[in-house]
């Protein structure tokens, strides 16, 4: 087949390249702009008079003697104790990912290896649960959690996020395990392994690609959640996202907006790194459901 025939005419080529450039600006510019602006004072970040102030940092120079200042970061991390929220987020994400994957691999493996009718109904139920907006469940949690004194602490939030995460994890891992040939664990069972031993010695060593992809999405869910964490955590246990939301309530005094900007940049940075290293897995995870269905 001649590749030449598929070549675009120059006009179309320019047009589509221009479009990609515009889209790239739309997608990336807000982040770069905010990153740059987070090292300025508020009057530069929101510059009414001349927008180039936010690039050159005229007032930042006037106030701090240099075009960059880390006042926002200092204020957010030390004064407002954002580090505590970062620490909480790390705990929540770590446990949510570990527990979700443990539960999810066991369940997903079982669903992919059983041919009874009920597996279908379990998957359908999971699909329905996946569609429930988490905030609708939260009103169901509050009363019992208050009654039993479980409200406000990290373990409760972790287990709730694990549960909310399960339907998605189950679907992802179920379709991943289906691609692993059944003959592998069947032959292990013929050799005298129990089902669990077959899982332990045959499946676990080869399941990591699927588990990593699923783990990334569990991580994103836990990291990005706002509805559950803001409702179920007390003030001192807040994770990053609700903490940032609470900064906004107190933004009226000067300087505080910059705390929020610095916190937002700090919370975005790990996601940047994540996409950089795991781009391939994220893309394959996103398309998995689509190509199958």
């Amino acid at each position: 087949m001649s590749v030449k025939a598929f070549k675009q005419p120059p006009a179309l080529r320019t047009l589509s390249t221009a479009f990609v450039v515009i889209w790239l600006i739309l997608a990336a510019f807000p982040f770069l702009w905010t990153l740059w602006g987070s090292f300025k004072v508020e009057l530069d970040f929101f510059s009414k008079g001349d927008w180039t102030d936010s690039l050159t940092g005229v007032r930042t120079i006037a106030e701090h003697g240099s075009a960059f200042t880390d006042n926002g970061y200092e204020g957010a991390w030390i004064q407002e104790e954002f580090w505590r929220a970062v620490f909480n987020t790390a705990i929540v994400c770590f446990f949510v990912v570990t527990i979700s994957l443990t539960f999810g691999t066991l369940g997903g493996y079982a669903l992919s290896r059983s041919s009874y009718r009920y597996t279908f109904w379990l998957l359908i139920t999971a699909l329905i649960f996946r569609a429930m907006p988490p905030i609708t469940l939260v009103s169901g949690y509050l009363l019992p959690f208050f009654e039993w004194n479980l409200w406000g602490i990290l373990p409760t939030t972790i287990i709730v996020l694990v549960a909310i995460n399960q339907p998605f994890t189950l679907w992802m891992l179920h379709s991943f395990f289906q691609k692993i040939p059944k003959e592998l664990d069947e032959s292990a069972k013929v050799d005298g392994c129990s089902q669990f031993q077959a899982f332990r010695h045959v499946i676990i060593p080869i399941m990591w690609p699927g588990v990593i992809t699923t783990g990334l999405f569990s991580f994103l869910l836990a990291y990005n959640d706002f509805a559950v964490t803001s409702m179920l955590l007390s003030k001192e246990n807040q994770t990053m996202v609700p903490k940032i939301a609470s900064f906004l309530g107190t933004t009226q005094t000067e300087g505080n907006v910059m705390f929020a900007v610095a916190a937002v940049v700090s919370a975005t940075a790990p996601l940047f790194v994540l996409v950089m290293f795991f781009q391939r897995q994220i893309v394959s995870g996103l398309t998995q459901g689509a190509v199958k269905g």
């Binding site: 889209w23 999810g104 781009q279 996103l286 398309t287 269905g293």
Partner: protein
Amino acid sequence: MKHKTFFWFILPTATAMLLFIALPIMSVVTQSLFTPHEQVFKVVENCGPFGCTESTSIDAEATEALRAEAPLGRFAGLGIYLDRGHLAVTEVGDAWRNRDSIGDFLGSLANLPFYRAMGFTLTYTFTVTPLLIALGFVIAISVNSLHRHLKGLVIFFSLLPMIVTPLIGSLILFWMIDSRGVIGTGLQWLFSDPDLSLKASTGLTWVMLIVYGVWHAAPFAFVVFYAGLQTLPKDTLESAMIDGATRWQQTKYVVIPHLMPLVTFVALIQLMDNFRVFEPIVGFNAEAHATSLSWIIFNDLGGETRLLSSAATTSVLTIIGVSILLSPVLVRTWRDFSTKG
């Protein structure tokens, strides 16, 4: 796999979902049928030198006791569903009887919190979804024709709007479109209107939220379509070309039909996701102009007075809405499963 082995494998995940998804849904439904206790009043007679006066005061102890005894509150049946904060049956009936025109009727509906939120939620869902599919498709087509070394870089930046926490993404845009921010100032300059503020008008706020929604979700459509383009049937495309199809005709008759199942997939997923729109409203601080069902629940639950029953009722109504949007997905899954045997 034997039933018993299956049971042990599925037990942890099933327990988690049962305890924290199934039971809460039941609890929400139950809660929505109850309304908080009213304060218990007691009448105290104060007798002094000038005779006796009766005064009514709140009996805090008795109220507390009542609450402890039945934390759910009084049984109200469907009362909360029909009250002004939710379906507002009486108000809607009145508005319908006293209407001058359909527009007038819709105007009075827009004053009722539930219908106001419903109006925005539906508008948002049904404008954002087609727009993001269109944008995602165009990006996918354009990126696909790029040089392969550039593709990775473009995909990296394209993923960012989707991966970033919705609240954070909306905050970043919110600061930029602030009347002192770079886009806000740019727009003022463009329309030469120094008082232009996107936050001040309802229409512009809606546009802003919809633009955010498309920006946030287009990468998903892009990635899915881009993956679809990699499996494009080259032979069909080639024969179409030999038959004299123009580039546009090739796209219309070969590429789009090939991607159609993916379009359905993206549309179904996004309809459900957009229906729960919530974080952007908080991030853009837009509740004065636009509310959504999820936002009403959040608002009822937060604050000093936690309106659990009211929130539960809105939750049940939201769940009903989601189920309606979900039904085509279920039908599809059912069909897939049946054909597979």
